[in-house]
């Protein structure tokens, strides 16, 4: 069948394309141009960066059609601006979820349908399992590369159309061996790191450029509003963090952590580690991959990209939200995803709401 492969120019999606072609599918490659690389890299004759050239080189070598898709505007609006706005609202966003949700699984997937493809494949490390009630989303075999948390917002209709051929790979070394077997130039290319749209690895400058009102130093205060220290900028702080608190890291012999961020007042609120935990949290924009029972379900929840799941009960609420009751208290960070799992399967997930009583 005709399959559109979302190619980033890296080794993973290149191997996906090569394997699908070997299996006899008609592969069509597409690479999203998300930003003008000339601005970031300051050199290079073409607006296409090295990744786009790599993806084309793979397609040319294997002999299938490849297209560059202009998604600059859409990426700016739907990912970068929302990323900065979330910080301005005192949250710690997950831009990769927004990108998968919008640019990749809505726009590119729509394009795949427009060109008559029967499926779209990506290089994500996640498994799609054909279950009795339709497609299911699972953690991959290689847990070290698990990307399922970032894909919780994939809708059932999208999942139906998607394929993730790397979900069964035992480890990255086997993927690289596959790339070598196919003779791909990207076989030894380093993995991409951090946020793709921040070239120097620091998102702080970017957010401060878009929200200058948040930039600059401010006060660190305790729960009662007493000033206990100074900080260099609110963007550097996430709920649950203990670093960068200086002398305020320990007050009255108790270790402190960030319990809230108020960007409008440039304030970071701290509290004792022990007292800051909570057992209930509220999530918004929930995507369900199962039919959620109204009385709720018992499952595990994962609230950060790299964190062990915790036992919990999740109850769906009206308006697309849910209430999460943790068996053991924890410190959820507003804006991060709270993803519901049962064993390896994703049941659903949403975004953690800000606790009440904080000013944005």
């Amino acid at each position: 069948m005709r399959i559109l492969v979302a190619m980033s120019g890296g080794v993973d999606s290149s191997v996906v394309a090569a394997r699908l072609q070997e299996e006899g599918h008609e592969v069509v490659g597409a690479t999203l141009q998300l930003y003008d690389s000339r601005k970031a890299a300051k050199k290079g004759a073409c607006c296409a960066g090295q990744d786009i050239r790599d993806a084309r080189a793979v397609a040319d070598r294997l002999g299938f059609a490849h297209y560059v898709i202009d998604a600059e505007r859409r990426f700016q609006d739907s990912v970068i601006e929302r990323f900065a706005d979330a910080y301005a609202a005192g949250e710690t966003p997950v831009p990769c979820v927004a990108c998968n949700q919008g640019v990749k699984f809505t726009d590119l997937l729509g394009l795949a349908r427009e060109i008559g493809a029967q499926a779209m494949a990506t290089g994500h490390y996640v498994r799609r399992v054909e279950g009795p009630q339709g497609a299911e989303l699972h953690r991959p075999v290689d847990i070290a590369r698990d990307q399922s948390w970032f894909l919780f917002a994939t809708t059932r209709a999208q999942l139906d159309f998607l394929r993730f051929p790397l979900g069964d790979m035992p480890d990255k070394a086997s993927v690289r061996r596959e790339a070598e077997r196919f003779g791909l130039v990207v076989a030894n290319k380093p993995d991409s790191q951090d946020l793709c749209f921040v070239s120097d690895g620091s998102y702080v400058d970017l957010v401060e450029r878009m929200h200058p009102e948040m930039a600059g130093p401010g006060e660190i205060v305790d729960r009662h509003g007493h000033v206990v220290g100074q900080h260099e900028g609110v963007m550097r702080f996430t709920v649950g963090q203990s670093k960068r608190l200086g002398n305020a890291a320990r007050l009255d012999g108790e270790r402190q952590m960030v319990v809230g961020v108020e960007p409008g007042r440039k304030r970071v609120i701290i509290g004792p580690r022990e007292g800051a935990y909570t057992s209930t949290l509220s999530v918004r924009d929930v995507n369900w991959l199962v039919d959620a029972p109204p009385e709720g379900l018992v499952c595990d929840v994962q609230m950060r990209a790299r964190e062990a799941p915790r036992a919990a009960r999740v109850v769906p609420m009206a308006g697309g939200g849910a209430q999460v009751f943790l068996n053991e208290p924890a410190m959820p960070a507003p804006g991060q995803a709270c993803v519901f799992y049962r064993d390896t399967r994703i049941l659903g997930g949403g975004f953690i709401r800000r606790a009440e009583g904080l000013a944005a």
């Binding site: 005709r2 069509v28 141009q33 004759a45 073409c46 607006c47 296409a48 786009i52 084309r56 397609a59 040319d60 002999g63 299938f64 059609a65 490849h66 297209y67 560059v68 898709i69 202009d70 729509g110 394009l111 349908r113 427009e114 060109i115 008559g116």
Partner: protein, 396 residues
């Protein structure tokens, strides 16, 4: 973007309908190139081999000059259309203010020299894509300003729309402006006489008329040799106006292609009209249909359907067409031409079909079938259009 064979159905040759990107090689051009490539000499050398090469070069020069209506010494060979445009703008535009059509090619839009007087003044076009003569005259008539350097193209690469060049030239002469004409899409397709038509300078490109890539020409309307400051001086070739050894095979191919094209005119309008009729039946609108146009070019917008998806689908069906003017990365950008015509979202929803000199009726029919099928298959996923399709673009 891809090699033509990559996306087409197995066992079938792709159908090439992208002449405005590059015309297929004309037989006379291929033969002339081979002859030139066999010559050893450098046209600047003083020995016999050099003389033979120079004779061939000057022969090509006099052919091009004669067919385009300038004196032989006012034909300056370049590497292509972009360089010819930029050479004119740099060499003749210093100290002048630049009046540039909104729908010009990037070669011109981005070719203004640092010695220009003041910022670019953009010349607006109407909904049909033709320059607004009233606004042109308003700009030219400014008394307090530096003398003008007007850039307007003969035929638009995306829509095929022709500006009313006789009136433009008359206005430019009347107000003492230099008129530079990017004739990349017109030269070789119909007769042009640079001097008789009152053009100050004209750029053309070999591969857009069935020659090889790698040669272009700048024709100068004044008495020969018209002085022109070079961009690079090198060994003083081309009367000191363009340094560097001339690409003789490409130049010989350009001259032969021009001659063959003008001596064997073929009216592509009947095929074009059939194609457009089928496209309109399928729901397309023809951009610029209200204006005089090149006979080979159709700019077809399918409301609510992204150009990118249309292009990919047609390519995968073995049909080579374009959208906008593709960036070298191959991404499909929003069309600044259709945007300037006020077509709103349609600027991101149009593909350009440009029939080559050797197009067959069967090729056009294959396009019509594939386009109709594409329009039908994507009708349900089409984004609803906000507001109505602008008036004046649908071909009756």
């Amino acid at each position: 973007m891809t090699t033509p064979s990559a996306g087409s159905a197995p066992g079938t040759e792709p159908t090439y309908l992208d002449a405005n990107a590059t015309e297929p090689l004309r037989p006379a051009a291929g033969a002339a190139m081979l002859d030139a490539a066999r010559l050893v000499g450098n046209p600047s050398s003083v020995h016999g081999a050099g003389r033979a090469a120079r004779a061939m070069l000057e022969n090509a020069r006099s052919t091009v000059a004669r067919r385009l209506g300038v004196e032989a010494l006012n034909c300056v060979f370049t590497s292509g259309g972009t360089e010819a445009n930029v050479l004119a703008m740099h060499g003749l535009g210093g100290g002048r203010r630049f009046l540039i059509g909104r729908t010009e090619h990037d070669a011109v839009r981005k070719g203004v020299p640092p010695t220009a007087a003041g910022p670019i003044e953009w010349l607006e076009v109407g909904a049909d894509g033709q320059v607004r003569l009233d606004l042109l005259e308003q700009s030219l008539a400014r008394r307090d300003a530096a003398p003008a350097f007007v850039c307007l193209m003969l035929a638009n690469n995306e829509t095929g729309v022709l500006h009313p060049m006789a009136e433009v030239a008359r206005l430019c002469t009347h107000y003492g402006a230099h008129l530079h004409v990017d004739a990349v899409q017109g030269a070789g397709r119909f007769d042009i006489s640079v001097r008789e038509q009152g053009f100050g300078s004209v750029a053309c490109s070999g591969h857009k008329m069935g020659g090889p890539k790698g040669a272009g020409a700048l024709l100068l309307g004044g008495p020969a040799p018209t002085r022109l400051d070079p961009i690079f001086e090198g060994g003083g070739q081309e009367q000191g106006r363009r340094g560097g050894t001339q690409a003789l095979p490409a130049i010989a191919g350009l001259a032969a292609a021009l001659e063959e094209g003008l001596d064997n005119p073929r009216d592509l309008a009947p095929l074009r009209d059939r194609l457009e009729h089928a496209a309109v039946q399928a729901g397309a609108v023809v951009c610029g249909a209200g204006a005089a146009r090149l006979a080979n070019t159709s700019c077809l917008a399918l409301p609510g359907r992204r150009a990118q998806g249309q292009l990919m689908r047609l390519d995968l069906d073995g049909l080579c067409v374009s959208a906008g003017s593709a960036c070298s990365s191959g991404k499909v950008a929003f069309s600044h031409v259709l945007d300037a015509m006020g077509l709103g979202p349609l600027a991101g929803q149009a593909v350009r079909v440009s029939l080559p000199w050797n197009v067959t009726a069967a090729g056009v029919e294959r396009f019509m079938a594939a386009y109709t099928a594409m329009a039908a298959a994507t009708r349900e996923t089409a984004e609803p259009m906000a507001g109505n399709v602008p008036a004046g673009v649908v071909r009756a």
